[in-house]
Symmetry: C2
Subunit: 382 residues, 2 copies
Amino acid sequence: MKNFTHYNPTRIEFGKGKERNIGQYISEYGVERVLIVYGSERIKKSGLFDTVTKSLADNKISFEALGGVQSNPVLSKVYEGVALAKSTGAEAVLAVGGGSVLDSSKAIAAGAVYEGDVWDFFTYKAVPSKALRIFDIMTLAATGSEMNNFAVVTKEETKEKFSLAGPATYPTVSVINPELQATVTNEYLAYSAADIFAHSLDMYLSVTYLPEYIAGYVENILKTVIRTTEILLTDANNYEARAEFAWTATQALNFTTFCGVENNRYDTHFLEHTLSAEYNIAHGAGLSILMPAWMKWQKNNQPERFVQFAKNMFNVDGADAGIEALKQWYRKIGAPVTLKEGNIPEEDIPMLVEKLSAVVKMWGSEALYSKEMIRIVLENSK
Amino acid sequence: MKNFTHYNPTRIEFGKGKERNIGQYISEYGVERVLIVYGSERIKKSGLFDTVTKSLADNKISFEALGGVQSNPVLSKVYEGVALAKSTGAEAVLAVGGGSVLDSSKAIAAGAVYEGDVWDFFTYKAVPSKALRIFDIMTLAATGSEMNNFAVVTKEETKEKFSLAGPATYPTVSVINPELQATVTNEYLAYSAADIFAHSLDMYLSVTYLPEYIAGYVENILKTVIRTTEILLTDANNYEARAEFAWTATQALNFTTFCGVENNRYDTHFLEHTLSAEYNIAHGAGLSILMPAWMKWQKNNQPERFVQFAKNMFNVDGADAGIEALKQWYRKIGAPVTLKEGNIPEEDIPMLVEKLSAVVKMWGSEALYSKEMIRIVLENSK
C-alpha cells in the first residue's frame, strides 16, 4: 500500500425514523439557530419538513429556510444562502434533500464565514478551513456527499462546474433513513447506481497501484449495487435493499476506497462535470454515457486491471467483454450509454472538446487530459 | 440493515517513515507536553525512541517517558502512568508499541483528568467522557485499538480483565508504519491473525442479522488476512503483505463491520479475557483456542451463517467442514487450537467455569452465558 492519510469525522445516524431526532443531534453541538436548505416543495407535502421543524422546535433551535436548490446546483443559489445565513446569524446549515442540496449547503456553510467570494473555494484561490457546522438528512443516495468534504457547484454564466473540499466541509452529522429515499424514480435510481459505479471505477481502473484488499473492498461495493439496484427496480419498497444501496453509496466516496492506492485520476467525473453543466443532464446519466467510452480509451493503460474487473465483477474474460458487460448492465437498468441516449447532439463533440480543453488548461492538467484523449472518449460515446 | 450510529474521528497516518512526523502531528493540536508510554526497551535499541523524541524536540514538545508495559497490560502500570501524567502536566499521551501499550495509554489519558479511581471506567461506574489527547505509533498489528475507543486492562489482584470505552478514548492520530511491524515473530503474527479473525467472526457468526454487504466486507478482510499471513510467515519483509495485514487489522475493529447488524455478542472475546488474565497467555492464542470450540457450540444457533462462512471463506460445504478448515488453518500458521497446545491444564476447566460464571454474574450477563454454555465451550477446546 502507498502512504496515505485517512480522516473522516462525520457521524452517521442511519436508519428508520432517525430524522425525527435531528433537533437533538444538532443541539448536542450547542447550535441554536440553523438555516435549512432544501430543493423542491415536495418535502412539505411529504411531511418531512414538518418533522424536521418540529424536532428543531422541541430542542429550542430556531431556523430560516431556503428552498429551490436544483440538480446541478448553481452558484446564484449559494450566494442567496450565504447572504441569508449571514443576515440571520445561522450557526449551522441543515441540508434536507439529495447531493445537490447538501453540496449547496456545504458551500453556504463555508461562504457564510468567509469575507471574499465563495467561488474562490471552487477555483482554489482559498481553502475552506472554516465553515458553519453542516448537518443533513439525505433523501437520495448516490453522491456520497454525506460522508465527505466535497461540494460541486455550477457557475451559471460560464457553465463552469467545479468542486470545493476543505477540512471544515465534512458534515457533523448525516442522517440516512433509507425509507426517505424510497420515492426516487427508477430513472434516478439508475443514475445513482451509475454515480456509485463511477466513484469506484474512476479509481479502480485508473490507479497505478491497487492493493488487493482495496480491490476486494470496491468489488463488494459494486456487487452490492448491482444486486440491490435490480431488486429496487421492481420492488421500490424493499427496505433491506434500499438500506444496503444507501450505505454502499456512502462507502464508495468516504475515502476508504482510496486508502493506499497510487495516482488516482478520477477521469469520468472530471469530464462529466462539463457535460452536465452544458446540457443540465443528471450527473449519473452523464457518467453512464462516459464510463464505457472512457474505459475503451483507458483499457490499454491498465490491461491487467481490466481483465481483473471483467472476471471479478461479471465473470467474463478480457477487457472488452468486461466493458460490454457493464454497458449492457447500464442499459438493463435504464441508464444511457451513448450521447444520443442522453439527448446530447453528436455534432457538438468538437465544441465539447474545446470546452473541456479550456477547463483542462485552466487547471493546468494538460498532462492528464490531452485534446486527443478527450476527443477519443467523446467519439467512443457515440 | 438495522439502525446504527457510526462515528470514528481518528486520523490515520499510514505508511513508511510516518513516525518521523509524529511531533508535527501532535503540534497541530496545540499540544506542548506529552507522556510517552512504551513496553520493552527494544524501541531504544531499534532507534525508534530516538526518532520519536527528535521529532518531538523539532516541534518544541517536551516529554516524560514511562516504559515497561507488558502484554495483558496491568492496572498498576496504569496507576503509575496516571500519577506521572498528573505530576508532569502532560497534555497528551503518546503510545509507542502494540495494543497493550495503546490500551494502557488510553486508560492513563482518561485517568489523568479524572478525580476518582481509573478502574471505575472498567467497571462502568464512570464513563470516560474526557481524556488527554491520545496519539500512537503502532509496532504491532492486531488489536485495532489504533482506530477505536476500547482499552482492555487487567487488575492483577483479582485477575479481572475488563475494558473501557468512551467518547474521549479515540486516538487523535494513529501512526501505522508497516515497516515497524516487520520484526514480530511468526508466533505473534499467528496470534495477531487469530485476533483479527475473532474480531470479525465473533460478530459474523453470532449476529441475528448480517447484511449481505457487511458479510462480503468481512469476508474480504479475512481473505486478506489469510493471504498476507501466509506470505509473511515465509517472507517477513514483504512490505505489501505487511501493509495489507496492518490495514485489515485496523478495519476489523473500527466499527465499520458492525454497521447495520443485530445482536452482536462477541463471545470468544468475552470468554478469552479470563483465560489470558489467568494464565498470562497471548490474547490471540487464547482466541485461536476458543474460536473453534465456541463455533461448535454456536453453529446450531446460526446454521445458515455457518454454511455461508464455510463456503465463502474456505470453499467447503457445511458448518462442520468450515470449522475444521479454520482449525486446520490455525494449526498451519502455528496458532494453538486446544487448551493443551496453549499450556492450559484441562483439569482447570471446572475452576475456569466458576471464574467465568462469576464474571458473567458481575456483568449481569447470565442470559447470554449460562454455566452450561461456558462448560461446553471449554470442553470443546480440549
